[in-house]
Structure formats: C-alpha cells, structure tokens
Symmetry: C2
Subunit: 476 residues, 2 copies
Amino acid sequence: MSRETDDLMDLARRQNPETEEDLEDLALGEDYALNPEYVPMVADALDRGDTERLRDLLGALHPADIADLMGFLSADDREELLPHLDPEALAEILSELDTEIREEILEHVPSATLAKALGEMESDDAADVVDDLEADKRAQVLAAMPDVERAAIENTLAYEDETAGRLMQREVVAAPQFWTVGQTIDHLRRESDELPELFFDVYVVDPAYKPVGAAPVSHLLRSRRETPLAQIMEQVTEIPVDMDQEEVAYIFDKYHLISAPVVEPGGRLVGQITVDDIVGVIQEETEEDILALAGVSDAGRDAGFLGIVKSRLPWLLVNLVTEAVAVTVIGPFQPMIAKIVVLVMLIPIVSSLGGNAGTQALTVAVRAIATKELNAANAMRVIMRELAVGLLNGGAVGLMLGGALYLWQHDWKLSLVVFLAIIANLFVAALGGILAPIVLERFGRDPAVSSSVVVTFMTDFFGFLALLGIAALILL
Amino acid sequence: MSRETDDLMDLARRQNPETEEDLEDLALGEDYALNPEYVPMVADALDRGDTERLRDLLGALHPADIADLMGFLSADDREELLPHLDPEALAEILSELDTEIREEILEHVPSATLAKALGEMESDDAADVVDDLEADKRAQVLAAMPDVERAAIENTLAYEDETAGRLMQREVVAAPQFWTVGQTIDHLRRESDELPELFFDVYVVDPAYKPVGAAPVSHLLRSRRETPLAQIMEQVTEIPVDMDQEEVAYIFDKYHLISAPVVEPGGRLVGQITVDDIVGVIQEETEEDILALAGVSDAGRDAGFLGIVKSRLPWLLVNLVTEAVAVTVIGPFQPMIAKIVVLVMLIPIVSSLGGNAGTQALTVAVRAIATKELNAANAMRVIMRELAVGLLNGGAVGLMLGGALYLWQHDWKLSLVVFLAIIANLFVAALGGILAPIVLERFGRDPAVSSSVVVTFMTDFFGFLALLGIAALILL
C-alpha cells in the first residue's frame, strides 16, 4: 500500500511540478542522465512561448545537461531555445556540445553575444568554438573581443588541431625553485584573481622558465611553511606542445597523471593539460576507432541526414567493388555449381564465417596496436598464436558444419570439402586479421580505418577459392 | 654527414649503454612507449643470469613500464624476473598489470612477499589483487597481513565487482563545516602522515559525517586563513557506494569531476573516487564494447592460447547456426539458380553489402545508447532517419551494381532485380541495425554483445529472400 501511495504522490507531483526542487528531481534519472520525459516538457514550453516556465525548466539543469537536452531537441526547438540562454550559460553549454550541433547553433547566435560568451570560457575551449565558426563570422566575433582574449585564442589556434597545444590551457601556476611553501602560499593568496579556477600542481621553474618539478597542491597544504619547494616537488613528465593528443592521453593513462606541464621546443613552460581534458580525448579517440572499424567515417549522432549518408556510402561502395572482385573467383566454377547446386548454400556460410573470424582477429590486433601492446617485440609470437587459433577454430567449426552436412546429404566427400574449406578460410582470416593491421600501421596508415576492407576481401576471395577449388578437386 | 655521425654515435651508445641516463633514453621511444629493442635486452640479461645488468635495466624504468615489459616477455622470462623485484616495486607493478598476466604472476609470488607488497598498495588496488588470488593462497596471504590492512581489503571486497565501492579509496580528507581555512590547513599539517598521498578536495561534512560540500585544495591555498570553509566550498555530486562503475564514469565525464565523495545508503561519507581511476574504467568499458561488437568475449591480449579460442569459438558457432538457418532460404530457389547461374555471384554481394550497412547502423546505435545519447526522447526521430539513410544508400549502391551488371550481362531485367534487392536489403539492414540495439537494451541485455548476430542474420535471411524472390517474380 505504501508503495502505491508513493506512486500516486509521484504521479501527482509530476503532473504539477511546481517547486524548483521537484523539477530537479524530475530532470535527471537515477543514472544521472537527462530524463526522456523532460525533453517534451521543454519542447512544450517552447511551443507555448512560456518564458517563465522555460526559465524554471532550464534553471533546474546543469549546463552539461542543457547541452544534452540540445541533442534531444529538434533543430527548430534548439534555435528557439537559444535566446533564452544568457552569455555565461551559453559559454558553458558551447564547451559541452558535440561539434555538429555546435556548428548549427553558432550560425544562429549573434556575433556580439558570442564574443561575450567566448570571454567567459577558458582559452582552449574558446579556441575550439572559434575554430567551428565560418570565416566571415569568425572575423566579426574576434573583432568584437578585447585584444588580450583575442590574442589568446589566436595563439591557441596557431597550434595544429588534436595536438597538446590545442588541448592545453595557458593559465598555469609557476613558482621559482628557491621559494618556500610559505612564500608560495602567500603569493597564491595575493594573486588569487589571476589564477586558474582550479589547479592541481604548482610548477617549479628555473630562471629560464623551464619546469624542473611540480608540487602537488595537497603537498603544499600539508607541508610546513618553511619547507623549500625543491624539497617537496616531484618529477614532472613534460608534454611537447606539438605532441598528438592521442599520445598525450596514453601518457596520462600510463603514469596516472592529474596534470602535466606543456613546453615549447626550447623547454619553456607555455601551459598545462589536466586530466579532465584527457577523459574527453580518450572518449573521442576510442569512439573514432569503434566507428572506423564498423566502416563509418567520422560523423556523430547529430550529423544531418546527408552527413550520415556521406559518412557511410563511401565504405559501402568500396565494399561493393572489393566484393565484386572477390566473386569473380566463382565465375569459372559456374558449370560445376549448376551440377552440384548445394554448393550455392555453402558459399555464404564459408564467406560469413571467414568474415567473422577475420573481424575477431583484426579487432583484437587493432586495439593492441592502439594501446601499444603489440609491437616488434612480440609481433612474431602474436602472429603464430593467431594462426594456431585460426587452425583450431577452423577445425572445430569445420567438423561441426561437415558433420551436420553429412546428416543431411549423406555425402562424405562433400563434408570433407567443407571441412577443408573452413579450415583454409579461418586460417586465411587469422593471417589477414593479424597481418593487415600490423602492415598498415608499419606504412603509417590507421589500421582501424582500412583493415576491415582488406580482411573481408581476403576471406571472401580465398574462401570462395578454397570451397570451389577443393570441390573441383574432390567432387569432379 | 652530421646525420650519419649521429646515427653512428647512436649505434655505438646502444651497443654499449653504460650510464643510467643512456638506459633511460633507450628505454622509451619518443611516444613514451617501451622501446621494442629494450625487451630482448632484458630477456638476454635474464638468460645470462646477469643480476647487476638486470638491476640497471629495470632501474631505468617506471613501474608502469615494467608492467608493460612484463606483457612483452614470454611467460618463462616473466617468472624469472619476479625474484628481482622488491616488494615496493612489485606492489606498483601489480596495480598496473592486466588481469591475465597478474593471475599468472601471482601464482609464482610467495605469500609472505605478496602480503608485504599488498601493504604498500592503496586499499582499492590491493583488493583487486586479492580478488585475483585462488582461495587457498588468498587465505594464506590475508593471514600474513596486519589486522587493519586485512580488514580494509575485506571491507572493499564486500562490495560487488565493478561498483563504486570497489573503485573508491577509503582514505579521504574531511573537515567539519564550521572550520576556517586556517584551521583546516593546520589540521592537515598536523595529520600529514595519516593523509592520502594525493588529494584534490577536502570534503566538508556535517556532524553525521554526511558531505555537504567540497573545498578544492587550490581554493584552500588561495583563500585567506580566516575564511570559513562553508564560504569557499562547492556543491558535490555524491556517488552511491553500489553504483555501477560505468555510471560513475559517465558522471565524471559529464560534469568534469576530479574527485567525488562516495556515500553509504544513509548518506554517510565512506570514501572517494578520483578521476585517474575513472580513466582506467573508461578504457575498460569501451574496450569491452569494441570486442563485444567484433564477437570476441572478454579476453585480453595476454590470454593464453586456449583462452583466446574460448573467447572466439562460441561466437563462430552461433554465427554458423544463424547462417545455416539463413541459407535455407536459398533451398527452394535452387532449380532457378541452376538455370540462371549468375545469381550465384550476386548472392555473396547482396549478403556482404547488407552485413556492412547493418554493422554501420548498429555500431552507431550501440555507441549512442552507451553514451546515453539515444533514448525514448529521440528514438523515433533516429529510427526514421536511419530508414531514410538505408533507402538512399540502397538506391545509390543498387544503381551502381545494377548499372555495372547491365554493362556485363546486357539484361535489364536482371539489373532491375539487383537494384530492388539491394534497396530492400539495405532497408532491412537499417531497420535491424537501429531496432536490435534499442530492443535488446529495453529488455536489459547489453546491445553491444548480441546486436551483431541478430542483424547479420536479418540481412542475410532477407537479403537472400529479396534477391531470389524478386528474381523469381521478374525473371521466370
């Protein structure tokens, strides 16, 4: 009964969610994701032009949740929502949005509003947004910003996309190595307004502004005032400003870094990268790999209809061409197939099994390369192991299929053909699955992008050849 | 010339790497990954039993790199290497190792050494290691540990695997809400030895030890001593102790958290999770998805030969069964195929294109579900968009294939058959690719694990039916 009463009260509250607290409860599910029911409530308020209700609804959300909400709204609703956001909220939301929606939204935000919002953001986030602007608007927006902020953004944009320079924030806390803990804390209290909002390390620098160590803030807090910084500082891992963001993420993950100093070629400290930026990079990079493995070029959930077609059609056409080449193997065997028609049903099975086994092997290899767990030191051992797995799995699956076929066709020769063809094809799948990524990587190509095409072609071409060739030898 | 001299000097240095600095240069590549050449150097020293050389070689490596090295060595070499590691090094290396290698290594470490090493680790890492031990050894090792440490490990193990309770460290820094910044800093200096090695927030708690806010240490450092904690503290996002680690990672990523308090059902503070643990969780969870999508059950690079077979064979057998069912569609059409043999070459093409288009759609859907970007609020819009993409891509690919076929066979009816079959199949692929993950998720299954099987079956079954059915209608 208590349970039912709860449900009823819950229902009543949802139908008339008046207080701010109620809205906050309603906004997020138990998993902290935006509640699906909340989206039509916002859409409804937008339709009715109910500004007050909208302010309450948005007020119950964290900017990250408003960014999520944007993704669930239709493009029209998104455009209508924009004028209801003040520049500070807009700044935070823009930093959180996926590129596609951000580009779409940026078209509708007036340059003056945008210039104000950019001023609220950290230099790396602001640069990302400016990078998404079209040339005309970019010039307008930058012209409307104060000189210092514009310069910071332009400096950041001078670094290549997806490098440490683009990822870093320029705001760092540095102290000379001869300072004590007390001097450092006094300095921080004095300069409080100039400091980054959050920081985790004070970088200890030499007179040339090169980092010689880092004092974690928790160590500063617990040390006595007279302790020299040099005594509590720890070794730092310097990140070169032109390092690829994937490498940066690897280093953070490997050494469990919280923040790291970014240095110019001469070794001078120019910024810092913090681990919360790295979480985003890791998501981005593995997401790229997952989509590339599935033959989807870079395009997010929020790409428009044509964006999605563009991200998938090229790979289907490549697949069409390679498959058309692979089936030419079948041509010369057509007379035999016309006689032994059951082969028609075996062709797709052999092709499908080969494709699956190849995908298994290549996915494991692609990930091992991405996480630097596969290189020259163990390549030979891994290759031999894959081939052995291919043979064993081929034997097992071949035995199953050959056996089942015998029960149906009572033709041991046909079963033998299938048994041998499956072993051959799963061996080829293993060979292609492990070699394609290794070779592509060696030649500087991204193994996640092209391995699938190569391996599918190999397993179909050799699979058809094995099945029909062995059939010709044994059955004719 | 200078380049050549460099190379020569490089070579000379590598052949006789005497100083510690030289070894450090040699150990890691520019990408901070372990240099492949370093592995045989270690293996060689192990073979020769050259303890001193081994100490130098290992001394040049960070524990995380020694863990990497372990992965590249053969199992025999790993076992030989163990006695050369002291308990502190062993503790750090064990925390870094992949499960498979760790389990293998743990068998060879004496219980007493292990007990000592566990004492050096944080409670969450130590619990992970103990969890990997076999029952007998676990009892021995725990018995050899001091009571307090044993209790901490047992408490952590009482929480389910992959929950916040297992991920958290019990060591936190908390302060009552009526304290000032100065009181807090004095307390930290006094209790320095009892504090966690690194911390990023001081949790402000009420008398019932429930967190009411968090003061970032960088805010403590820059605030005046007399400032009340309540004035600089920020809102906290509490993590329930039984929350799944995937949810925890979602929250950290969404709100850019550096650390978060973990609370018991009553709201009492019991530990904290820091972002560096989350980086590992994100890697783990996306890795699981990537492998599941490729039909590989959980098994890392370092699984033994049989482990790999076990991780892949079941999916191949499932694939065999579904494919065997799908090809039964071909059966009734065999007489037609014997007459129009070119259909044999079209069957694999239709199957392959359908499989690819399905994989594209399902991968995007699986990821959108995993990142909570696809739910009831936008499902209908996403489904309609996928179906439209399927029709358009089907039309484009069908036109290409039909056209090419016409140039070869000069039979417009056959081209029409292929054109229609491809459109139908890519429509089915889109339908299956988007619906399978959504439906599986709705029924509480992991869409990454089983979607591929469902979609491949659908595209093959309906692909064959479309091609041969339409052929029978138009060509016979």
